[in-house]
Symmetry: C2
Subunit: 206 residues, 2 copies
Amino acid sequence: MRKVAESTIRRLSLYLRLLEEFEGQGIATVSSGALAGRGGTTSAQVRKDLSFFGSFGKRGLGYPVLELVAHLRGILGLDRRYRVAMIGAGKIGSALVQYRGFRQRGFDVAAIFDVDPAKIGKAWNGLTVQDIAALEEVVKAEKVDMAVVATPPDVAQPIADRLVALGIKAILNFAPVQITVPDDVVVKTVNLALELETLSYALTNR
Amino acid sequence: MRKVAESTIRRLSLYLRLLEEFEGQGIATVSSGALAGRGGTTSAQVRKDLSFFGSFGKRGLGYPVLELVAHLRGILGLDRRYRVAMIGAGKIGSALVQYRGFRQRGFDVAAIFDVDPAKIGKAWNGLTVQDIAALEEVVKAEKVDMAVVATPPDVAQPIADRLVALGIKAILNFAPVQITVPDDVVVKTVNLALELETLSYALTNR
């Protein structure tokens, strides 16, 4: 597999969103120009991005919407389901489980962990909160693919180290710290505190 | 005001988080090396970042934690409060209002808007949901500084245009689309769908 730039994946993700809209409107074919116009890019870029993953569409006829949706879902890995371990039974985890896009994209929470004795053993969005001490055992038993780290900042790295040792290759990190992992593991950090501070900085220094 | 790179703001934000930890531990002074080690950067970079905003600390004595926390909070605009308009009375808005860091960083929700007649007029986290048709009137009356856009993707841009016309200079966007604004407006987009698709792509193509 050739290495694909994250900016390309971002655009594919955007094309998919636009195509799903077209699909909802019953549109059968779209031109690269229509995708480019809505996606803030050029026709040439759209054709280049899509040709990279194989040959779609016919010259002059545009892209068949349904077929391209299926192809893009396959490329982005959205045609299968993933088993997710949620680390931290707090508000972020709850919001994520209730977020429609999470299940829509094939992510199912298979286990939830916390360190707080008051939470362990309690029901949580259809699961039972497990002791973080049992992480290794449960992640193996539940065949977990991916983890969401929604812990306080000081424990995020040790938790990530344990996940990496378990062979987890994808982590979504909500703790407000940078996590360091080996090259074959992907971490995406959603740092809301940082986004807010960038905005307050902009409001103060404008 | 000199233009400051977003990467610098990110590091200042990180230093502040580390310093608040030191403060919590009762530590009075820290070296640039201690900040660098925890922040994944170099002592020289820490000194450069901090000197850019004025002279802190004494050679050989390190930085006074309390004073530096106060300075950084001032630089990042965290020493005042902001009035926020929340557009979309859904789960994202609720999670954000309940997120401790939102109030901690000085963001107070002053108004909440929706387009759904079933939601308009109902109580929502201590506020009453208002008709989006009244956006202009309410934003002016409530002296709103910033907006959170948590709408479906197709209306995010028209809403942003109305906010810009009202003089709003900072937008936190949760709609899964890019929003285009003039140069003097800052938009930060938190696109969870995109983060998830980057992870599923990585899991599928590893």
